[in-house]
């Protein structure tokens, strides 16, 4: 951090000012002039919170994608299908048993199993042929999409939110002050906050596992040079299977999350595949912190964009990607 400040003082200054402005916008009571210029503070705060929680969902999808890419150089374009598959499994389990938490576990296990099968049957046979693997994943995503359309039809499904998470929660953030001088606090859906907290926990746990454990050390070594790692006697195929299973399982969990606060339908697979593509392009391929930063930026841009410039929301996301590619083609937080 301090090295970054020393190297790029101008950028650091801009970043600090931007953060300060953002904090002020979130915490301060807006003066009437500002409210007239860009609308009510409640709208802004809702958009920010929606963006951050959407970023949490994007992070869940994209982190598995970027982990698989980082280790195996495999752009798994069937990742969106795994997301949708997890969502459908979660929906089936939660309607059958009524348990929301159980649906997460089953979705994780089943999508991880699909991931293991994919790695063992398909990707192991064409190791090192990046482009061919990518083509195969495109073919798989078409097949999966059609199979799921066959099994689940074209309807919209929504995973039932459990009772203990329904309803808004009051946050200590003032959106406005009534004429009587009484402050009005922001009310926000509980379930989104819980899911966001869970994705933060998963992200931190992943970071700790990668940086503080022996398995994490093996995976990081594999990202840097998998041939040398294999030569040192690590059973790399086992590591590959494990990472693929975990990445796929994360996509499955994300599917349940997405099914809870949005909905599941054919086409969502492509939407989330693209979201994770953009997130990892912005954040940097193969980097977990990069996926977190990218997910936050894209989630915020999408939500703020859809509130303030509704016609061009998608273009904002795209412009961010173009800008990153133009300035830093390897992504914001990638090392190479």
């Amino acid at each position: 951090m301090s090295r970054f400040v020393e190297r790029h003082p101008a950028w650091a200054l801009i970043a600090i000012i931007a953060i300060a402005v953002a904090l002020w916008l979130i915490f301060a009571v807006w003066p009437p002039g500002l409210e007239e210029a860009i609308g009510r503070k409640r709208v802004f705060l809702n958009a920010v919170f929606n963006g951050i929680t959407l970023g949490g969902l994007y992070f869940l999808v994209a982190s598995g994608f970027t982990l698989i890419f980082g280790l195996m150089r495999n752009v798994n374009l069937a990742h969106g299908s795994l997301y949708l598959f997890g969502g459908y499994v979660g929906y089936a389990i939660s309607t059958a048993t009524g348990s929301w938490l159980l649906s997460f576990i089953v979705a994780f296990v089943l999508t991880a199993l699909v991931g293991v099968l994919l790695q063992l049957i398909v990707f192991r046979r064409m190791e090192g042929q990046d482009l061919r693997q990518t083509m195969v994943t495109i073919g798989l995503s078409i097949v999966f999409a059609d199979l799921m359309l066959w099994a689940c039809g074209g309807d919209f499904y929504q995973v039932q939110t459990p009772n203990w998470l329904i309803g808004p929660v009051e946050l200590p953030l003032i959106t406005a002050v009534k004429s009587s001088g009484e402050p009005v606090y922001l009310r926000y859906p509980m379930v989104r906050l819980v899911i966001f907290a869970a994705s933060v926990v998963i992200g931190v746990a992943m970071w700790l596992a990668l940086n503080r454990t022996r398995i994490g050390m093996i995976i990081r070594a594999g990202v840097d040079d998998r041939d040398i790692l294999a030569a040192t006697g690590v059973r790399i195929q086992l590591v590959f299977v494990g990472v693929f299973a975990f990445g796929a399982g994360l996509a499955g969990i994300a599917g349940v999350v997405g099914g809870t606060f949005q909905s599941l339908s054919p086409g969502e697979d492509i939407r989330f595949l693209l979201a994770s593509l953009v997130v990892v392009i912005v954040g940097g391929m193969g980097s977990i912190p990069g996926a977190a930063l990218g997910a936050l930026i894209i989630g915020l841009a999408e939500q703020l964009g859809s509130v303030y410039i509704p016609t061009y929301a998608i273009v904002v996301t795209f412009l961010i990607m173009v800008l990153v590619l133009a300035i830093r083609p390897q992504g914001l937080l990638a090392r190479r």
Binding site: R73, V75, Q129, D130, L131, R132, T134, M135, V136, I138, G139, L140, I142, V143, A145, D146, L147, W150, I270, L274, L277, V278, I281, M285, P310, T311, Y312, A313, I314, V315, T317, F318, M321, V322, L325, A326, P329
Partner: protein, 360 residues
């Protein structure tokens, strides 16, 4: 083993001696003449449905896939935005030309609208290419896919130019010299002429100095850079050429359907173009047309075929996906690769020479 080795040595100089001067490979190939003759006399035999729905559609999709084949086969860049460029060009024809949406279309005559559309689409594709060449290999796929998706969502959301998800309908088609060029037979010949032009342009360019340098860049960019070639300039130029071809296909497409909507530039359609090129084979320009023919035949007849087998006719995409998977699994060069391997298998049992490099 040594026997076959010797035989191979003996065969090779003979093959070289047959063609001392590099000329158009089609001239000495009777199959090419037969195909050309069949295509030219097609309107005498086929009815309007086959002429337009099968052959003209095949040729249009083939031209789009040809632009991808040029990039992927000679440049080593798999771009998923070729359909997006074609769609952009189609939209521009509809916007500048005459259409049912009078509040959007500017009403220019076709001979002004088409060059404008071609120029804008080529510029669009070149810009996208300039962005994509900053990355390599699988990254290129992702970035071009993201560009394609962004365009799709943009057309869905933008009402001022692209008229949102309804798109632009009843686009006018050219009438001149007393001919309605959208009538079945004239349109078929227009499409055939453009397809032939694009095919031979790619064929020619692949052997011109630029094409050879591009193939050098594909095989070893560092060495080409060391030899003094501007690697990125060659790649961007390849994108520009491919964009122009895709733009031509886009113009034909909008004349064919007389309408354009976001559905035609969806992500699935972008991937279809890749499937067509890969199934046909991306090492030779004829591949995309073969792939397009297979794709169109499947798309048109798979429903009846599946129903006749007692299966659900809606599983057409499953069939396409499985076929694509099979091709990617067993042949690195699509149907052409299978055919060549089969012919080599006929000639010598273990003749695996000239197996062809992998994708890009």
């Amino acid at each position: 083993m040594s026997l076959t080795h010797d035989a191979r040595l003996a065969v090779r100089p003979a093959a070289v001696a047959q063609r001392p001067v590099r000329t158009w490979p089609e001239i000495n190939n009777p199959a090419a003449w037969i195909v050309a003759a069949i295509l030219v006399v097609m309107p005498l035999v086929a009815n309007g449905f086959f002429l337009i729905e099968i052959f003209a559609t095949t040729l249009i999709l083939g031209i789009m896939a040809l632009s991808l084949m040029f990039l992927a086969g000679y440049g080593g860049m798999v771009s998923l935005m070729q359909l997006t460029i074609a769609g952009f060009s189609a939209y521009m024809v509809a916007v500048f030309g005459v259409s049912g949406n009078a509040n959007i279309s500017l009403g220019w005559p076709w001979w002004l609208a088409v060059p404008m559309a071609l120029a804008l689409a080529t510029a669009f594709g070149t810009l996208g290419g300039a962005l994509a060449v900053r990355t390599e290999g699988i990254y290129t796929i992702m970035i071009t896919l993201a560009i394609g998706a962004a365009f799709y969502y943009f057309t869905n959301q933008n009402w001022a130019i692209f008229n949102g998800h309804t798109g632009i309908n009843t686009v006018a088609t050219p009438h001149f010299w007393g001919v309605n060029w959208r009538a079945d037979i004239p349109f078929y010949y227009v499409v055939l002429a453009v397809a032939a032009l694009c095919y031979f342009a790619v064929e020619y360019l692949s052997r011109a100095p630029f094409g050879l340098a591009l193939q050098g860049v594909r095989d070893n960019p560092r060495r080409m850079a060391a030899l003094g070639f501007n690697v990125n300039a060659h790649r961007v130029a390849a994108y520009a050429f491919a964009s122009f071809i895709a733009a031509l296909a886009g113009v034909l497409q909008v004349w064919n359907y007389r309408q354009i909507s976001p559905g035609s530039v969806s992500v699935g359609a972008c991937i279809d173009v890749l499937i067509i090129a890969v199934v046909g084979g991306i090492t030779r320009p004829i591949g995309p047309f073969i792939g397009a023919l297979i794709f169109v035949l499947l798309r048109t007849f798979a429903l009846d075929f599946l129903v006749r087998l007692g299966l659900d006719g809606n599983r057409f995409r499953l069939l396409i996906g499985l076929g694509f998977l099979a091709i990617v699994f067993w042949s690195s060069d699509g149907v052409i690769g299978l055919w060549q391997r089969w012919r080599q298998g006929q000639r010598s049992r273990d003749g695996r020479q000239g197996e062809g490099r992998g994708h890009g």
